[in-house]
Amino acid sequence: MGFLAKAGKAAVLGTVTAAVTALLTAAPAQAAKHCDFSTSTGRYSCSGSGSVRNPGDVIGGKLFTGLDYSGDSLTIWVPRPCPKNDQVDYWVDLGGDMRNKVSSVQAWSSCWVWLYFADGQRDGPYKGNEPDVGTWANDRAVTVGLS
Protein backbone atom coordinates (compact mmCIF):
# COMPACT_ATOMS: atom_id res chain seq x y z
CA MET A 1 0.00 0.00 0.00
CA GLY A 2 1.49 3.28 -0.95
CA PHE A 3 0.82 6.73 -2.17
CA LEU A 4 -0.61 6.62 -5.64
CA ALA A 5 -0.90 9.92 -7.39
CA LYS A 6 -2.93 10.59 -10.46
CA ALA A 7 -2.66 13.84 -12.34
CA GLY A 8 -5.92 13.89 -14.19
CA LYS A 9 -6.35 10.39 -15.57
CA ALA A 10 -2.68 9.58 -15.77
CA ALA A 11 -1.54 7.51 -12.82
CA VAL A 12 2.06 7.87 -11.75
CA LEU A 13 2.94 4.23 -11.43
CA GLY A 14 6.40 4.67 -10.03
CA THR A 15 4.84 5.99 -6.89
CA VAL A 16 3.85 2.62 -5.51
CA THR A 17 7.34 1.22 -5.40
CA ALA A 18 8.79 4.34 -3.85
CA ALA A 19 6.11 4.54 -1.21
CA VAL A 20 6.28 0.88 -0.29
CA THR A 21 10.01 1.13 0.19
CA ALA A 22 9.60 4.20 2.34
CA LEU A 23 6.95 2.58 4.48
CA LEU A 24 8.84 -0.66 4.97
CA THR A 25 11.99 1.12 6.06
CA ALA A 26 10.25 3.56 8.34
CA ALA A 27 11.36 3.45 11.96
CA PRO A 28 8.81 2.71 14.70
CA ALA A 29 6.85 5.82 15.55
CA GLN A 30 8.43 7.86 18.33
CA ALA A 31 8.71 11.52 17.50
CA ALA A 32 6.26 12.85 14.95
CA LYS A 33 7.20 12.02 11.39
CA HIS A 34 7.03 14.74 8.78
CA CYS A 35 6.89 13.26 5.31
CA ASP A 36 6.64 14.65 1.81
CA PHE A 37 5.08 13.31 -1.34
CA SER A 38 5.16 14.86 -4.79
CA THR A 39 2.48 14.15 -7.35
CA SER A 40 4.85 15.21 -10.08
CA THR A 41 7.72 12.88 -9.19
CA GLY A 42 5.76 10.19 -7.36
CA ARG A 43 8.45 10.18 -4.71
CA TYR A 44 7.84 9.90 -0.98
CA SER A 45 10.25 10.55 1.86
CA CYS A 46 10.28 11.45 5.52
CA SER A 47 13.70 13.09 5.45
CA GLY A 48 13.03 16.42 3.85
CA SER A 49 11.32 17.58 0.70
CA GLY A 50 14.50 18.03 -1.29
CA SER A 51 14.66 14.45 -2.48
CA VAL A 52 10.97 14.30 -3.24
CA ARG A 53 9.78 17.33 -5.10
CA ASN A 54 10.62 18.85 -8.39
CA PRO A 55 12.20 22.29 -7.97
CA GLY A 56 9.11 23.84 -9.48
CA ASP A 57 6.63 22.07 -7.20
CA VAL A 58 4.43 24.01 -4.82
CA ILE A 59 2.64 22.77 -1.72
CA GLY A 60 -0.95 21.78 -2.48
CA GLY A 61 -1.94 20.61 0.97
CA LYS A 62 -0.87 19.15 4.28
CA LEU A 63 -2.41 16.37 6.32
CA PHE A 64 -1.90 15.68 10.02
CA THR A 65 -2.71 12.68 12.15
CA GLY A 66 -3.47 14.83 15.22
CA LEU A 67 -5.78 17.72 15.91
CA ASP A 68 -4.36 21.24 15.59
CA TYR A 69 -1.79 20.12 12.98
CA SER A 70 -0.05 17.87 15.45
CA GLY A 71 1.22 14.32 15.12
CA ASP A 72 2.63 12.92 11.88
CA SER A 73 2.28 15.04 8.80
CA LEU A 74 2.25 14.57 5.06
CA THR A 75 3.05 17.49 2.77
CA ILE A 76 1.68 17.03 -0.74
CA TRP A 77 3.68 18.78 -3.45
CA VAL A 78 2.04 19.45 -6.79
CA PRO A 79 3.50 20.71 -10.07
CA ARG A 80 1.37 23.83 -10.12
CA PRO A 81 -1.40 25.45 -8.10
CA CYS A 82 -4.86 24.02 -8.61
CA PRO A 83 -6.40 25.69 -11.67
CA LYS A 84 -9.90 25.97 -10.16
CA ASN A 85 -11.50 24.11 -13.03
CA ASP A 86 -14.28 22.46 -11.03
CA GLN A 87 -12.54 19.14 -10.91
CA VAL A 88 -10.12 17.32 -8.68
CA ASP A 89 -6.71 17.84 -10.22
CA TYR A 90 -4.52 15.73 -7.95
CA TRP A 91 -5.29 12.46 -6.21
CA VAL A 92 -3.25 10.80 -3.52
CA ASP A 93 -4.10 7.37 -2.14
CA LEU A 94 -2.88 7.29 1.43
CA GLY A 95 -0.49 4.65 2.66
CA GLY A 96 -0.29 3.07 6.08
CA ASP A 97 1.16 6.09 7.83
CA MET A 98 -1.81 8.27 6.99
CA ARG A 99 -4.60 5.93 5.93
CA ASN A 100 -7.57 6.26 8.27
CA LYS A 101 -5.55 8.60 10.49
CA VAL A 102 -6.13 12.13 9.16
CA SER A 103 -7.49 14.49 11.80
CA SER A 104 -6.53 17.99 10.61
CA VAL A 105 -5.67 19.45 7.22
CA GLN A 106 -4.38 22.57 5.53
CA ALA A 107 -5.13 23.76 2.00
CA TRP A 108 -2.16 25.48 0.35
CA SER A 109 -1.67 27.59 -2.76
CA SER A 110 -5.01 27.70 -4.60
CA CYS A 111 -5.90 24.11 -3.80
CA TRP A 112 -8.82 22.86 -1.74
CA VAL A 113 -8.59 19.57 0.12
CA TRP A 114 -11.13 16.76 -0.19
CA LEU A 115 -11.07 13.66 1.99
CA TYR A 116 -12.41 10.45 0.43
CA PHE A 117 -13.46 7.50 2.54
CA ALA A 118 -13.35 3.78 1.88
CA ASP A 119 -17.10 3.67 1.36
CA GLY A 120 -16.86 6.19 -1.47
CA GLN A 121 -18.16 9.16 0.45
CA ARG A 122 -16.14 12.32 0.82
CA ASP A 123 -15.88 15.42 2.96
CA GLY A 124 -14.73 18.89 2.02
CA PRO A 125 -13.64 21.03 0.52
CA TYR A 126 -11.34 22.35 3.20
CA LYS A 127 -10.23 25.74 1.94
CA GLY A 128 -7.74 26.82 4.57
CA ASN A 129 -6.45 25.74 7.94
CA GLU A 130 -8.76 23.14 9.47
CA PRO A 131 -7.59 22.06 12.92
CA ASP A 132 -10.30 19.41 13.25
CA VAL A 133 -11.94 17.70 10.30
CA GLY A 134 -14.79 16.69 12.56
CA THR A 135 -16.18 13.49 13.94
CA TRP A 136 -17.60 12.30 10.65
CA ALA A 137 -14.33 12.56 8.73
CA ASN A 138 -11.83 11.94 11.51
CA ASP A 139 -9.58 8.91 10.92
CA ARG A 140 -11.56 7.86 7.84
CA ALA A 141 -9.70 9.29 4.83
CA VAL A 142 -8.10 6.79 2.48
CA THR A 143 -7.64 9.12 -0.49
CA VAL A 144 -7.06 12.84 -0.74
CA GLY A 145 -8.13 15.03 -3.63
CA LEU A 146 -6.87 18.52 -4.37
CA SER A 147 -9.06 20.75 -6.49
Binding site: N54, P55, D57, V58, Y69, S70, G128, N129, P131
Partner: protein, 200 residues
Protein backbone atom coordinates in the same frame (compact mmCIF):
# COMPACT_ATOMS: atom_id res chain seq x y z
CA UNK B 1 12.50 42.26 21.41
CA UNK B 2 13.63 38.93 22.66
CA UNK B 3 15.35 36.43 20.48
CA UNK B 4 14.88 32.72 20.78
CA UNK B 5 17.49 30.47 22.23
CA UNK B 6 17.14 28.39 19.11
CA UNK B 7 16.54 30.68 16.21
CA UNK B 8 14.69 29.00 13.44
CA UNK B 9 16.43 29.13 10.15
CA UNK B 10 14.03 30.36 7.56
CA UNK B 11 13.71 28.29 4.49
CA UNK B 12 12.45 29.90 1.37
CA UNK B 13 11.60 27.24 -1.10
CA UNK B 14 11.63 28.36 -4.63
CA UNK B 15 8.56 27.37 -6.52
CA UNK B 16 7.32 27.08 -10.06
CA UNK B 17 10.67 27.25 -11.74
CA UNK B 18 13.40 24.73 -11.76
CA UNK B 19 16.07 26.47 -9.80
CA UNK B 20 16.96 26.58 -6.16
CA UNK B 21 16.07 26.31 -2.54
CA UNK B 22 17.15 29.46 -0.81
CA UNK B 23 18.10 29.23 2.85
CA UNK B 24 18.52 32.44 4.72
CA UNK B 25 19.07 33.23 8.35
CA UNK B 26 16.66 35.86 9.63
CA UNK B 27 18.03 39.33 9.33
CA UNK B 28 21.14 38.43 7.43
CA UNK B 29 22.08 40.49 4.46
CA UNK B 30 23.18 38.51 1.50
CA UNK B 31 23.81 39.08 -2.11
CA UNK B 32 20.59 38.33 -3.87
CA UNK B 33 20.48 36.78 -7.24
CA UNK B 34 17.95 34.96 -9.30
CA UNK B 35 16.27 32.32 -7.19
CA UNK B 36 17.36 33.38 -3.73
CA UNK B 37 15.97 35.87 -1.26
CA UNK B 38 16.33 36.55 2.43
CA UNK B 39 13.60 36.16 4.99
CA UNK B 40 13.66 39.87 5.70
CA UNK B 41 13.42 40.76 2.06
CA UNK B 42 10.43 38.50 1.47
CA UNK B 43 8.47 39.47 4.53
CA UNK B 44 9.21 43.16 3.97
CA UNK B 45 7.61 42.79 0.56
CA UNK B 46 4.60 41.29 2.24
CA UNK B 47 4.42 44.13 4.73
CA UNK B 48 4.65 46.60 1.86
CA UNK B 49 1.66 45.00 0.16
CA UNK B 50 3.73 43.78 -2.79
CA UNK B 51 2.53 40.20 -2.56
CA UNK B 52 -0.87 38.88 -3.57
CA UNK B 53 -1.05 37.00 -0.31
CA UNK B 54 1.08 36.00 2.63
CA UNK B 55 -0.69 33.40 4.71
CA UNK B 56 0.68 31.96 7.93
CA UNK B 57 0.11 28.24 8.23
CA UNK B 58 0.84 26.71 11.62
CA UNK B 59 2.81 23.54 12.05
CA UNK B 60 1.86 21.58 15.15
CA UNK B 61 -0.25 22.77 18.00
CA UNK B 62 0.25 25.77 20.25
CA UNK B 63 2.70 24.81 22.95
CA UNK B 64 2.59 26.57 26.29
CA UNK B 65 5.39 27.32 28.69
CA UNK B 66 6.16 29.52 31.67
CA UNK B 67 7.66 32.86 30.74
CA UNK B 68 10.62 34.36 32.58
CA UNK B 69 10.16 35.50 36.15
CA UNK B 70 10.01 39.29 36.19
CA UNK B 71 10.58 41.60 39.11
CA UNK B 72 7.24 43.39 39.27
CA UNK B 73 7.47 45.36 42.50
CA UNK B 74 9.14 45.52 45.89
CA UNK B 75 9.11 47.18 49.28
CA UNK B 76 11.92 47.57 51.78
CA UNK B 77 11.42 47.86 55.52
CA UNK B 78 14.48 49.26 57.26
CA UNK B 79 12.85 49.54 60.66
CA UNK B 80 13.27 47.05 63.45
CA UNK B 81 9.56 46.21 63.44
CA UNK B 82 7.15 44.29 61.23
CA UNK B 83 5.23 46.55 58.90
CA UNK B 84 2.29 45.99 56.61
CA UNK B 85 2.94 47.62 53.29
CA UNK B 86 0.85 48.20 50.19
CA UNK B 87 3.07 47.15 47.30
CA UNK B 88 2.28 48.18 43.75
CA UNK B 89 3.43 45.83 41.03
CA UNK B 90 3.38 45.83 37.28
CA UNK B 91 4.73 43.47 34.63
CA UNK B 92 4.20 43.03 30.93
CA UNK B 93 5.01 40.56 28.17
CA UNK B 94 5.09 41.18 24.46
CA UNK B 95 5.47 39.03 21.39
CA UNK B 96 8.83 37.86 20.07
CA UNK B 97 9.59 36.09 16.83
CA UNK B 98 12.29 34.81 14.54
CA UNK B 99 11.43 36.73 11.39
CA UNK B 100 13.66 39.78 11.74
CA UNK B 101 11.11 42.22 10.33
CA UNK B 102 8.28 44.40 11.59
CA UNK B 103 5.98 41.89 13.20
CA UNK B 104 3.50 44.00 15.09
CA UNK B 105 -0.25 43.86 15.40
CA UNK B 106 -0.63 46.41 12.62
CA UNK B 107 1.79 44.93 10.09
CA UNK B 108 0.49 42.77 7.29
CA UNK B 109 2.35 39.69 8.44
CA UNK B 110 1.14 40.41 11.96
CA UNK B 111 -2.46 40.59 10.81
CA UNK B 112 -2.01 37.43 8.80
CA UNK B 113 -0.59 35.66 11.83
CA UNK B 114 -3.40 36.90 14.06
CA UNK B 115 -6.03 35.75 11.57
CA UNK B 116 -4.37 32.37 11.26
CA UNK B 117 -4.33 31.82 15.02
CA UNK B 118 -7.99 32.75 15.17
CA UNK B 119 -9.05 30.46 12.34
CA UNK B 120 -6.57 27.68 13.01
CA UNK B 121 -6.93 27.32 16.75
CA UNK B 122 -9.97 29.46 17.51
CA UNK B 123 -7.94 31.51 19.93
CA UNK B 124 -7.09 35.17 20.07
CA UNK B 125 -3.47 36.28 20.01
CA UNK B 126 -2.57 38.96 22.51
CA UNK B 127 0.40 40.96 21.34
CA UNK B 128 1.09 42.57 24.70
CA UNK B 129 -0.26 41.74 28.09
CA UNK B 130 0.19 43.74 31.27
CA UNK B 131 -0.75 42.94 34.81
CA UNK B 132 -0.75 45.57 37.53
CA UNK B 133 -2.32 45.87 40.91
CA UNK B 134 -1.36 46.36 44.51
CA UNK B 135 -1.31 44.00 47.44
CA UNK B 136 -0.93 44.24 51.17
CA UNK B 137 2.04 42.36 52.46
CA UNK B 138 3.79 42.05 55.80
CA UNK B 139 7.43 43.00 55.55
CA UNK B 140 9.71 41.85 58.35
CA UNK B 141 12.26 44.07 60.08
CA UNK B 142 15.21 45.06 57.88
CA UNK B 143 13.76 43.00 55.08
CA UNK B 144 12.72 43.47 51.52
CA UNK B 145 9.74 41.83 49.85
CA UNK B 146 9.99 41.31 46.11
CA UNK B 147 6.97 40.56 43.94
CA UNK B 148 7.63 38.41 40.90
CA UNK B 149 5.34 37.82 37.94
CA UNK B 150 5.55 35.07 35.36
CA UNK B 151 3.29 34.82 32.36
CA UNK B 152 2.06 31.56 30.89
CA UNK B 153 3.18 31.91 27.29
CA UNK B 154 2.44 30.32 23.92
CA UNK B 155 4.76 29.23 21.15
CA UNK B 156 3.67 28.70 17.55
CA UNK B 157 5.76 27.47 14.65
CA UNK B 158 4.70 27.71 11.07
CA UNK B 159 5.31 28.81 7.54
CA UNK B 160 4.41 31.91 5.62
CA UNK B 161 3.24 31.10 2.14
CA UNK B 162 3.88 34.12 -0.05
CA UNK B 163 2.29 34.40 -3.45
CA UNK B 164 3.45 36.97 -5.96
CA UNK B 165 1.21 38.02 -8.83
CA UNK B 166 4.21 38.08 -11.10
CA UNK B 167 7.34 36.09 -10.54
CA UNK B 168 9.66 37.45 -7.90
CA UNK B 169 13.21 36.33 -8.58
CA UNK B 170 11.84 33.64 -10.78
CA UNK B 171 9.15 32.27 -8.50
CA UNK B 172 5.49 32.81 -7.76
CA UNK B 173 5.50 31.06 -4.41
CA UNK B 174 7.97 31.42 -1.54
CA UNK B 175 7.88 29.74 1.84
CA UNK B 176 9.36 31.22 5.01
CA UNK B 177 9.54 29.21 8.23
CA UNK B 178 9.57 30.80 11.64
CA UNK B 179 8.47 30.77 15.23
CA UNK B 180 6.50 33.20 17.37
CA UNK B 181 6.26 33.46 21.14
CA UNK B 182 3.61 35.44 22.96
CA UNK B 183 0.30 34.72 24.57
CA UNK B 184 -3.29 33.98 23.72
CA UNK B 185 -6.15 35.64 25.52
CA UNK B 186 -6.83 34.23 28.95
CA UNK B 187 -3.40 32.84 29.72
CA UNK B 188 -2.74 33.67 33.38
CA UNK B 189 0.02 35.39 35.27
CA UNK B 190 1.66 33.49 38.07
CA UNK B 191 2.51 35.79 40.99
CA UNK B 192 4.92 35.02 43.80
CA UNK B 193 6.71 36.94 46.51
CA UNK B 194 9.99 36.49 48.23
CA UNK B 195 11.34 38.09 51.38
CA UNK B 196 15.07 38.75 51.56
CA UNK B 197 17.38 40.58 53.90
CA UNK B 198 17.42 44.29 53.05
CA UNK B 199 20.50 46.41 52.52
CA UNK B 200 19.66 49.23 54.91
Amino acid sequence: MNTFAHRVVAVAVAALTGTTIAIAAPGTASANHEGTATTRELLDLCNQGRTDSCDFRPSGGISTFNGPRQLAGSSTNCTNFNQTRVIRYEASQGTSHSFGVDFSAGSKIGKSFEWSIQTSYRREWTWNDTTSDELRQDVGPRSRVIIYASKLRSRVSGTYELHFGSRYKGHYYWYVNGQVEGQTRGQPWDMSSEQVRASC
